[in-house]
Symmetry: C2
Subunit: 470 residues, 2 copies
């Protein structure tokens, strides 16, 4: 951490502790510089950081003041999607968005790309380079079908923190959690089957269901406690549902962590109705709380939970290291992996295993949790500042996504189209619904550094929304 960041954090803490009250004048730049033995410019940078985080405000010719306390915006209410199976469309919009992510002139507020610029990832590419030089035969040859044993051992160890006690042999390595989920669905479902999903739900999962010809039924979901167990039960009574896809930890896009009681309740519901739970834990390691939240899988006693996860969000997408813990479906899923995908790249698996084994993984994840949490706070402040009144914003318990609900009349699909011309990409809420709901919502990727450029983008986004309201 640089000096100015250290100083900024110190001051932020004092403000939070009430040592500096809201509206109170802060020490002058000169006096802070003398007091902490740092340069004038360090203090100025620290103050600018705090200003960006909206903790302090500058008053021309009189210095910095602690910002007045603002009420946090309310969180979005429980969703109310259509209660019948539907087919998914909107692939064109997703494709446009994906193409934008590789145009460096576009600001990708829409993406799910984590921050891979942090120095705590340096050991990873050192390992990758080392692996390429020293493990010639393993790097060029075929991988084992279930994936590198060493990596599976490391993952089994990591997963203890989530309460899931498993063996390396229970794990099937995949090329990311998307491919883990696709193998799980191919293993359990046929085209035409119905699967229940949270509403809103990650658009990648929905496109997967579309690709496999699976119908979905969207279940009302609370932005604080997750899927409505009552609504899910009702749906299970009405429709021949094969399983339910859940992101119970640091949900994408809502950011909630399901309370343990509700996790257990949904599992016992699945047992009563004999359905499969497809549990996506890809953001679970980025939870702010310590110890990290438990998986539903950790209470599973009859192998009906297929846990899917990856290092994509917690480490780096380019590794393409994900995994499935398929419980009673292990053998069938392993066959499906052989049939549909084949084996995975050994080099990135070996590098990932070394990265975890040598302790770099835990250091990196600890760091990223803090960074993302702060980023989300700053983006929330900006939303409050630049977006119209009456918005609701989620208070994510981890991950790096904000979900903003705007006044009813705002059509984010239109706004997104306009912003494209300004080289700004946002993900309109309708992508997260099979039935085209949430057109007045937007998901914002807060893995992007909250710098001056992104503040301006938030301002432009706010302006575009305000125009759309009139």
């Amino acid at each position: 951490m640089t000096r100015y960041q250290h100083l900024a954090n110190l001051l932020a803490e004092r403000i939070e502790q009430g040592l500096y009250r809201h509206g109170e004048k802060l020490p002058s730049v000169r006096s802070l510089s003398q007091q902490h033995g740092v340069s004038i410019s360090t203090v100025q940078q620290a103050y600018q950081t705090l200003e960006m985080r909206q903790l302090i405000t500058p008053q021309p010719r009189s210095g910095y003041f602690v910002a007045p306390r603002k009420a946090q915006p309310p969180v979005p209410p429980m969703s109310r999607p259509v209660q019948r199976p539907v087919e998914i469309t909107q692939w064109d919009q997703v494709l446009d968005m994906l193409e934008g992510h590789h145009d460096s002139s576009i600001v990708p507020f829409s993406s799910g790309i984590p921050d891979v610029s942090q120095p705590s990832l340096k050991p990873l590419w050192r390992e990758l380079s080392r692996v390429a030089q020293h493990n010639l035969k393993s790097v060029l040859g075929y991988d084992q079908l279930p994936g590198s044993r060493e990596l599976r051992q490391q993952i089994a160890r990591l997963m203890l923190d989530s309460g899931s006690v498993i063996d390396a042999d229970d794990i099937v390595i995949t090329s990311g959690s998307q491919s883990a989920m696709s193998l799980a669905l191919l293993t359990v479902c046929q085209p035409g089957d119905i699967v229940a999903i949270e509403s809103p739900a990650y658009y990648g999962t929905m496109q997967l269901l579309r690709g496999l010809g699976i119908k979905v039924i969207e279940i009302p979901t609370d932005s604080d406690t997750g899927i409505s167990i009552e609504a899910l039960e009702l749906a299970l009574e009405q429709w021949p549902i094969k399983g339910v896809i859940l992101v119970p930890n640091c949900n994408n896009p809502l950011g909630f962590i399901m309370p343990e009681a509700r996790k257990r309740a949904v599992l016992s519901l699945a047992q009563r109705h004999d359905i499969v739970i497809f549990e996506d834990d890809v953001y679970g390691e980025l939870a702010t709380e310590y110890p990290r939240p438990r998986t539903i899988h950790s209470w599973d006693i009859d192998g009906r939970v297929i846990l899917c996860s990856s290092l994509t969000k917690s480490v780096a997408p380019g590794l393409r290291v994900g995994w499935a813990v398929p419980g009673r479906y292990h053998d069938k899923l392993l066959h499906m992996k052989y049939a549909v995908i084949g084996t995975n790249v050994p080099a990135t698996q070996l590098a990932a295993a070394a990265f975890i084994r040598e302790g770099h993984y835990h250091r990196h994840v600890r760091r990223m949790r803090q960074i993302y949490q702060r980023n989300m706070e700053i983006f929330t402040c900006w939303a409050q500042e630049y977006f119209p009144c009456g918005i609701c914003v989620t208070r994510p318990k981890g991950g790096f996504m904000l979900w903003v609900e705007l006044p009813e009349q705002v059509d984010m699909v239109c706004v997104a189209r306009q912003l494209c011309r300004l080289k700004i990409q946002v993900a309109p809420g309708s992508l997260f619904s099979a039935s085209g709901k949430y057109r007045n919502c937007v998901r914002i990727n807060c893995a992007l550094a909250p710098d001056e450029k992104h503040r301006e983008v938030m301002q432009k986004l706010g302006n575009a929304i305000k125009v759309a309201m009139t």
Copy 2:
């Protein structure tokens, strides 16, 4: 090339040219050593190499003689599989085999693993290590959905040699040809559909069809000219067939190259019956003939051929770099890639692109064609020497697989089980049939160096077969 290899090749050429006749005595070790200015041990090594290649035979106390000319064994006749759609099983046997490949105490005659120990692959891992060090952002971030543009450009250039004139935008990178084929099948077929295949056909493709719930109809296939177009036509008239999977260049397992006239005939048949051709070209670059044989895709005018290929056999499996050229199915297949797999590993793609761009690819493939061709000659000699009379052996036009047909009464499934105890794995022919045919056949991987150990394994295999006949 080392000195002894150089000398061995020189002597082999002279034998082929008839300068040394069959049965004639060769110069003594001492005189050759003086003549060529090399050490005694170099000459001895050269003679041992030629002996292993069965070009010369030692006579105790009188030196080396040119081996008597042997009639080559006949090739297997046209296959005659059951002519109705069937479902595929035998996954347990495939799984056992796959597990064996990672046990270094087992000799994997059964595998399809290419030789990755050649020095011409050194530039590849140098590139991989360089990529890891210098392309940080691209290596850790998400790849483009269709795959690295640079790699697609290189592949488009490579494919010109096969007559397929395509653009980088026509290519979708996958994690190997298995995953290219699976995306192609997922794009075109539904569970319950019928697809025609060559008989015998690669067991990986058959397990893929099984995984996706697709039925197959096996079409008689000639070990010299490929699939019977007449039989295919008959099947198309009788059954609602969606497409046909063909490996027309250096077929696995039969090694044939379909003559151009037959390639065009099968394409026009596909046009008449409006079916898709799934063309697997994974061994095409390893054809002995120059220029390399054309793809069926190269004559396709209405986008009905989905070409699937990879660098797995020609370069290294560990790259996990394959591709599909999906013609009219491009957009649907790209969606399927996003849905089912997601993006691929950038690091190995960038290394592969550099390997091709810098000319290392062509050097390596030229070298491997020669090595594999010689290996197959040596393994054929061994089969003739150690296997019972009355065998048929394919004369592969490329790749590195031999297919041996044994007398009717030999059950290679039983023989394979016995050989397991001797730590030898062979692929019984029945794995290559959906209806359990070819139990008296065996496929042998000739990518393995034909050294003393492998000669002994061939001898043991021959003995086990002879025992099975009695």
